[in-house]
Symmetry: C2
Subunit: 420 residues, 2 copies
């Protein structure tokens, strides 16, 4: 097996990462760093996609664009009928991102192909590198959107109809940016899917390791809560006559943190990332408030209990101020997704053969791999992040060495899965 050990060109990989990071770059006032803002299907995202699409073609790959705008770049194998081994990730980012989230997986896949081609290494199965559309879900409200359509969980029409805060639809933005492709929206099941991604957490750094084998993705629950109260004058309306939507929103946020701190829900994480009040004026009691609740839990049962207890809390809160109304809308819900043991083993063996100590860990974030797991054997490689693994932040950073070692493991795993 050690014959097929592949060592990629870490400098070339790093240069590609840094060149891509210039697209959508901005000067982040808070950190003093250069950040990345490439929300899905914006002009910046389209520019990034065109750059990478050109690189795929320069590497001799054929590229298909599907109706969801997913880019599928293919390096043929020696057996024309064999199902491909697939890798990839996404190029879209949150509004305050770094250079690595998603991009490492895509450019890592590209680097594997560049390395194989310059060394004249052929494989029996094709190797495909995929760029999934709107993985982050921050623009159109549903994360892993492109891979969910490819894996058949979400219908292409429903995906096209999703709109952003300005009312622009996925379908219209795909057409506007030139990425409304054709052919089937669902993938033929590949032989396997292996994705390399930065950890976005502190586990590998704390353990002093560079790479990890991902055993699965924790359960994720997103909901939007809308609260209606009554606008009233701040100076004259007695406290007991108020229906203060902003206060209710604040109480939910504080209650969520208490749930986390109680330890009663295992490794529950809770985040309120979106919060807005209306009319949003100093001397008016908020008539409306809207917030999102992002819950994560590695345990499906604990997650279900946390959701039920939150729903119970909301019902009680509704009665706490006369005139208060609450409604919730489910935005996303995925259960714990366990990854394939065989693929995990292949990754672990490749890491061993490269002389890299590693550990197995669960992913805290959602990834396209969890969608692909529904249609083929799937697992992921995590690469260590610095600064407690901070991500979705311009401080996000993985060293050139860590990135190269992660893609070494990816390359060796892909080549072995693709066969001679």
């Amino acid at each position: 097996m050690t014959d097929s050990l592949i060592t990629i060109d870490g400098d070339r990989l790093w240069r590609s990462l840094m060149e891509l990071a210039e697209i959508g770059a901005y000067d982040d006032a808070r950190t003093g760093l250069r950040g990345v803002n490439r929300l899905a299907l914006t002009d910046a995202d389209a520019e990034g996609r065109r750059l990478v699409l050109g690189w795929f073609r320069q590497a001799g790959m054929s590229v298909r664009i599907d109706p969801m705008g997913n880019l599928i770049a293919r390096r043929d194998g020696t057996d024309p009928g064999a199902a491909p081994v697939m890798t990839g990730s996404h190029l879209d980012s949150v509004a305050t991102a770094g250079a690595f989230d998603g991009c490492l997986g895509v450019l890592g896949g590209l680097e594997v192909v560049r390395t194989l081609t310059e060394r004249g290494i052929s494989t029996r199965r094709p190797i495909e590198v995929v760029v999934f559309t709107e993985e982050e879900g921050v623009r159109f409200g549903t994360d892993m959107l492109g891979s969910a359509v490819a894996a058949g969980r979400i219908a292409i029409k429903d995906a096209h109809d999703l709109i952003d805060r300005d009312g622009l639809s996925v379908g219209a933005e795909l057409r506007r940016t030139g990425f409304a492709g054709d052919g089937p929206a669902r993938f033929d099941p590949p032989h396997a899917y292996v994705e390399c991604h930065i950890e976005q957490g502190p586990v590998l750094a704390e353990a002093g390791l560079t790479v990890g084998v991902v055993t699965g993705v924790q359960a994720i629950s997103w909901q939007e809560i809308t609260i209606s109260g009554r606008a009233a004058h701040a100076g004259t309306t007695p406290t007991e006559l108020r229906a203060d939507a902003g206060l209710a929103a604040a109480q939910i946020i504080v209650a969520l943190r208490k749930m986390v701190d109680s330890g009663s829900y295992g490794q529950l994480r809770a985040t309120v990332g979106h919060l807005a009040v209306h009319p949003d004026l100093t001397n008016i009691v908020p008539a409306r408030a809207q917030l999102t609740v992002d819950l994560r839990n590695p345990d499906d049962e604990q997650m279900a209990r946390a959701e039920a207890d939150l729903a119970g809390y909301l019902a009680g809160l509704e009665g706490s101020q006369p005139g208060l109304g609450l409604s919730t809308r489910r935005m996303a819900r995925t259960s714990h997704v366990p990854f394939d043991h065989g693929i995990q083993k292949a990754i672990a063996t490749a890491a061993d053969d490269h002389g890299l100590a590693h550990l197995s860990l669960l992913s805290g974030a959602g990834h396209d791999a969890q969608e692909m797991a529904a249609i083929c054997p799937t697992a992921m490689i995590f690469v260590r992040g610095e600064y407690d693994g901070i991500s979705h932040n311009p401080r996000e950073y993985s060293t050139p060495q860590a990135c190269a070692r992660g893609i070494d493991v990816l390359a060796t795993t892909l080549v072995r899965l693709a066969g001679e």
Copy 2:
């Protein structure tokens, strides 16, 4: 004294109120009612001012526009050298307003002049009706701005330099709307100032009364709190490593309500009307939050203690999450303003003479009268509001009868103060 009893034309007053309310009107989705949105120095506010300015001139009044954009409409008296008796209020509104707040005081003053002129009643002192600029303070952040400049508390240059959220300045918006006047920015002290305003509270309705004599204005404290945390991924960042600015904002809101409910600060009212987080995305821990705190208290000592205890709470909160930073900016601060006993007595006597039972009460809201109180004997008349006196809301409503009775009392008070 009953000789000088003046009864105004309530129908004409009502028609003027309703006509003005069409300017800046909008259909309020929440209440199903017609609301008013005339933020200071917007196009709608300018249109409202031009309408009322025309009415002043039709009533035979001369109109001066001062450098702050305050409109001063004058009906001459028989003694050219006598200081005027002044009344008035404001025409600007909050974004979700009704038809009465401020407008009743301005159009009531106009109605008094119309009535005096059609009855051929002259007074020794001039009667002036003033429209103050930006009373609400919601656009440029400082309430009672026009009257504060007229009374000398705020320098005209500082007022002109205030900017709204889009960076537009008071000075530029005065010029754009055609209301950058000339002459002195500070008023020569009038003989007296009497303002009629809706109560914006439930006291008169609960007592079954139509009018009240206002004894003063409670202390008001506005501050803006900015919280800096750290953007981080919702799924991967351990709770103990987070610096969640949104959570801190929520904790402040909940703590303020606890302070109010404790009863330890007398009749403290606390409102967080403005609340925003950044980057405001579902799966990112907020890196920044901003909120405003509006405190009211009829007692200066209790108010000072509430402010000090809030500051202590904020200092403690800053240490509760590593990496959290808090800063505060004072937006407005006024002490309890007691009104002149002689003017209160004149109002009470006029109400008695009109056969109107009344009570004395403190104002919960700030009013231009509290600024004028610094330069001349001042007091206010309150008119009952329906629906618990709800205000800053399209449901704000006072009956035609209540408005007419309040302006009867104003007319009689003004004429007696102006003398024969």
